[in-house]
């Protein structure tokens, strides 16, 4: 097991290196010029060049990348004289748009995204898996048809529609939240009620989309598992339907769901872009989208991309290890 883990961790590091290099490469071939962005009226070629120098984009790409790597280990220095300052390691860089070390921005944004992800995850797993089991149990009858309808609605409505509907027609129309408090971040430790008030709406929006998928998946997994031979054996032993369902069927049906859930959760940790945007949550998704669409802020883009990638890659590893616990056939001797 230790050897297996060591190998997987080495792969993870390699993948992250490749991801970071790719971001730099992609950025360098983009038609957008971040140096030209910030100079509204005073935009002359020499001003743009000065800007490019300021942003650190006038040195060769490999050098930019090397500075980035070094910054991750020892931090980075910026400016001269009175204007000098330092970003502590691991330093992804400095955002000239937000005037803050990117690592600090990430540290502030992550708890928001984490809150969003955890709440939505719990909600959709409970709703999705339960509905799926009910639908499978009452296959082709009314509960199943209702669940199928729910699946259709949930999977076909994109989050930007459900999010806007939720915000404008429910929250705003019925005055369920102070419009200025939408997306206000408070720590769950100091103000749990306020924290829930902020997140309850985006949780529901996200959970709707995911729960629908999980209902469908759980339903088909349970139905499929129910037709397995070992379920027939269990019944032939004299076990009641209830015990067969809970102890035998679900145990087997849930395994692939765990994998999916882990990966979905990891994907959310990188930032739920649309939901965060609509509900004005200052999470990693908002940070990333602003950096990509508006600011062309390379250090922030690199940081959010790497972070999102590492969540997924690490979660892959965790899920694989977890799966071995669930399914003995997969265990490495």
């Amino acid at each position: 097991m230790a050897k297996y883990l060591a190998k997987r961790i080495a792969y993870t590091v390699l993948i992250l290196i490749l991801v970071s290099i790719s971001v730099y490469l992609i950025f360098s071939v983009l038609p957008m010029d971040p140096a030209a962005l910030t100079c509204g009226k005073t935009c002359r070629p020499d001003v743009i060049e000065a800007n490019r120098h300021r942003l650190g984009l006038d040195i060769p790409l490999w050098q930019q990348y090397w500075n980035f790597v070094r910054g991750m280990f020892v931090g980075r220095d910026y400016g001269t004289g009175q204007a000098a300052f330092h970003c502590d390691a691991p330093a992804f860089g400095y955002s000239f748009n937000r005037h803050e070390c990117v690592t600090t921005l990430i540290k502030e944004a992550f708890p928001v995204t984490l809150s969003l992800a955890i709440g939505a995850f719990v909600l959709w797993m409970i709703v999705g898996v339960s509905l799926g089991v009910i639908a499978a149990r009452f296959k082709h009858r009314i509960p199943d048809r209702l669940a199928t309808f729910f699946v259709l609605v949930g999977t076909s409505l994109p989050t930007f529609i459900t999010g806007l509907l939720m915000l404008v027609f429910i929250v705003m129309r019925f005055g369920l939240a102070n419009p200025l408090d939408i997306g206000k971040w408070v720590s769950p430790v100091t103000d749990p009620l306020g924290w829930m008030k902020t997140f309850i709406w985006p949780w529901m929006v996200l959970a709707l989309a995911y729960a629908a998928t999980y209902t469908r998946f759980t339903r088909s997994s349970v139905i499929e598992t129910s037709s397995e031979d070992y379920i027939r054996t269990a019944r032939s032993k004299g076990l009641s339907d209830r015990v067969v369902l809970w102890k035998h069927t679900l145990r087997a049906a849930v395994a692939p769901i765990v994998t999916m859930a882990g990966l979905d959760f990891a994907g959310l940790l990188g930032g739920a872009i649309i939901t965060e945007q609509i509900f004005n949550l200052p999470g990693l998704g908002r940070l990333a989208i602003r950096a990509v669409l508006i600011d062309y802020d390379l250090p922030t883009i690199v940081a959010t991309t790497l972070l999102a990638a590492s969540f997924v890659v690490v979660m892959n590893l965790i899920v694989d290890v977890l799966y071995a616990f669930i399914d003995p056939r997969v265990r490495v001797a």
Binding site: G40, K41, R44, N51, H99, E100
Partner: protein
């Protein structure tokens, strides 16, 4: 049609308020006692994530400057905090008077008054003023702000055209700067490279405000500036809010400009546009003020149609003239430029952007009437009998025919313009409104036989593209507002080769030399009335040459909650008269 992101402020020197259309400004607060105004929180809401800049040397939007100058930063001089044209006059703030020029306005002296302090109680000194002005020279750290210090101070240039002084962080050329800006006790002396009779108006920019060196954090000063005004920053979280609280070290006795009414001033970020509009439509938050001014088109119409909101809204002319610049280098034929002008359906364009009530009127001048003495009605262009607000295709066709008959360059341009495969190319920033406008233009010009194609540019890259003379196409939309009430900040900037915003690329036009000498004369004329006369000539000249077409005198709207009093329009800033706003107690 996009206006430059960094706006300008405008001075009204005459009773230009007669030109203000629509609902008028709210009543001033003379009848309310000070006690009934003091306290509470002024709650500004905006859909933006942050203030573009809080560093005084980098802020360049009229609104932000007005906001910051009212609460956080004190300048040597300020605009008078009163509504109407009187608000365009200068009053001393940190200085004892509005400046003493000498040496044909090439030298200016200001003396700091007593009792002026920073938020930590330390005195504001002449050295602080000097340091503040010097920062803009550090072009690799301090970006986006006005460049007047660089262009006006008497500091030599390097071979590459940039200033020989590289700012206080590097220190290169510090001695040169120290000669141009010097301190003797409490008096600061500015030495300019040429006569600038209205130099003290430039000093209303926070770029000329003092900065305390020990509190300067370079790029980070943009989010954590040190205050000299009646408020200081309690907290600033991008995407969340900027909260200002009272600055106990500010002394009322030293400040004739400001009376700080609210206990707290808050600017809330990230309020989605629809949500923001609903706040004012429903008056759900009485102490809220729309920092963005206007609203989404359907909402603004609803808001203004509702009689109950009469006391919570304004519809005024903003400082900008919006126009389409003709690239004279490429469209080097006057008749063709005229043809395009006559062909355009101006009415449709105005209606597209909200109608003349909310959007504005066709203009006849690159200078707006609010500039007072520098403006006069021109002849020709929209006053030409052949001009129709919905477009005059016949007149345009006749002009094209005349161009073709003329032969030479005119015939070439006319041929190109009428060629369906080539046609004229129009630079436009990508937006939903622009795309609709493009359709209107195409149709209107087609009626006149002129073919037009559009070069769509992502909004963030628009100005950097069209300001590049190698990249600009035949026509480019733009907007411009004077920096202060003098056409010196309009005509030379837009139409001379040295100007910072010349999209007309007109310096090779045979008509240019005459214009240039007009400009030189005006810039060096110290008699204001004489100067105004020359500006008026210059405007007429520009319009006659059709170096720009289709100017629109645009308007802007404002909305606020019922709990706010003292809301007025600050003409020179083109935004709220922040100093008079208070929360009704």
């Amino acid at each position: 049609m996009s206006v430059t992101r960094k706006g300008r402020r405008v001075l009204a020197a005459t009773a230009a308020s007669a030109l203000l259309a629509g609902s008028m400004m709210a009543a001033t607060s003379t009848s309310v006692s000070a006690a009934d105004k003091t306290g509470g929180t002024l709650l500004f809401v905006t859909f933006a994530d942050q203030l573009d800049h809080m560093d005084p040397a980098r802020v360049y939007t009229g609104r932000d400057i007005a906001f910051l100058n009212t609460y956080l930063f004190r300048n040597l001089v300020m605009y008078k905090a009163v509504p109407g044209s009187a608000g365009a006059s200068l009053v001393p703030d940190l200085a004892t008077n509005t400046g003493v020029p000498s040496n044909s306005a090439k030298t200016w002296k200001f003396t700091l008054r007593k009792g002026i302090t920073w938020q930590d109680g330390s005195a504001i000194t002449c050295a602080d003023v000097k340091y503040g002005v010097s920062r803009v020279f550090a072009q690799d750290v301090i970006t986006d702000g006005p460049q007047y210090a660089v262009s006006m101070l008497d500091i030599p240039k390097s071979a590459d055209g940039t200033s020989a002084y590289k700012g206080p962080y590097k220190g290169t050329g510090q001695a040169l700067f120290d000669k141009a800006v010097s301190c003797k006790g409490n008096t600061v002396t500015f030495k300019l490279s040429r006569s600038v009779a209205d130099f003290n108006y430039a000093l209303t920019y926070p770029a000329f405000a003092p900065v305390k060196k020990s509190k300067d954090t370079g790029d980070k000063y943009d989010v954590k500036p040190f205050a000299s005004g009646p408020y200081k920053i309690a907290s600033y979280k991008i995407g969340d809010a900027l909260t200002l609280e009272r600055n106990p070290k500010w002394k009322k006795s030293s400040d004739t400009v400001r009376t700080p009414y609210p206990d707290t001033v808050q600017l809330r970020f990230g309020v989605a546009q629809e949500v923001r509009d609903q706040i004012f439509l429903q008056d759900s938050i009485p102490n809220a003020i729309n920092f963005d001014g206007g609203m989404l088109p359907t909402n603004i119409r609803k808001f203004f149609a509702d009689d109950s909101t009469k006391k919570r809204r304004m519809n005024v002319y903003d400082p900008y003239v919006r126009y389409a610049a003709m690239n004279v280098k490429k469209v080097n034929c006057l008749e063709v430029r005229q043809a395009v002008f006559f062909a355009i359906n101006t009415q449709a364009l105005i209606d597209l952007s909200g109608g003349s009530v909310f959007y504005g009127d066709p203009g006849d001048n690159p200078v707006k009437p609010v500039l007072g003495v520098d403006y006069t009605k021109t002849t020709g262009n929209i006053h030409d009998s052949a001009w129709k607000i919905t477009g005059n295709a016949d007149k345009a066709k006749a002009l094209i025919a005349a161009a073709k008959a003329k032969g030479g360059a005119c015939a070439d341009v006319a041929a190109r313009a009428t060629d369906a495969d080539r046609g004229l190319v129009w630079d436009m920033a990508i937006s939903a409104t622009n795309q609709k406008a493009a359709v209107l233009m195409t149709n209107a010009l087609k009626d006149a036989g002129i073919s037009v194609k559009f070069n769509w540019i992502p909004p963030g890259q628009y100005y950097s593209t069209v300001l590049d003379s190698t990249k600009e196409n035949d026509i480019a939309t733009a907007g411009w507002g004077a920096d202060w009430a003098n056409a010196s900040t309009v005509l030379p900037e837009l139409f001379t080769k040295e100007g910072g915003f010349n999209l007309s690329l007109n310096w090779d036009d045979p008509a240019y030399p005459a214009f240039k000498s007009l400009m030189t004369k005006a810039l060096n004329e110290t008699n204001r009335a004489k100067q105004a006369a020359i500006w008026k000539q210059g405007s007429q000249y520009v319009m006659d040459q059709y170096w720009i077409i289709r100017p629109v005198f645009s308007k802007t709207q404002f909305a606020w909650g019922s709990g706010i009093g003292g809301v007025n329009y600050w003409e020179p800033q083109g935004n709220y008269l922040f100093p008079t706003m208070y929360v009704k107690q």
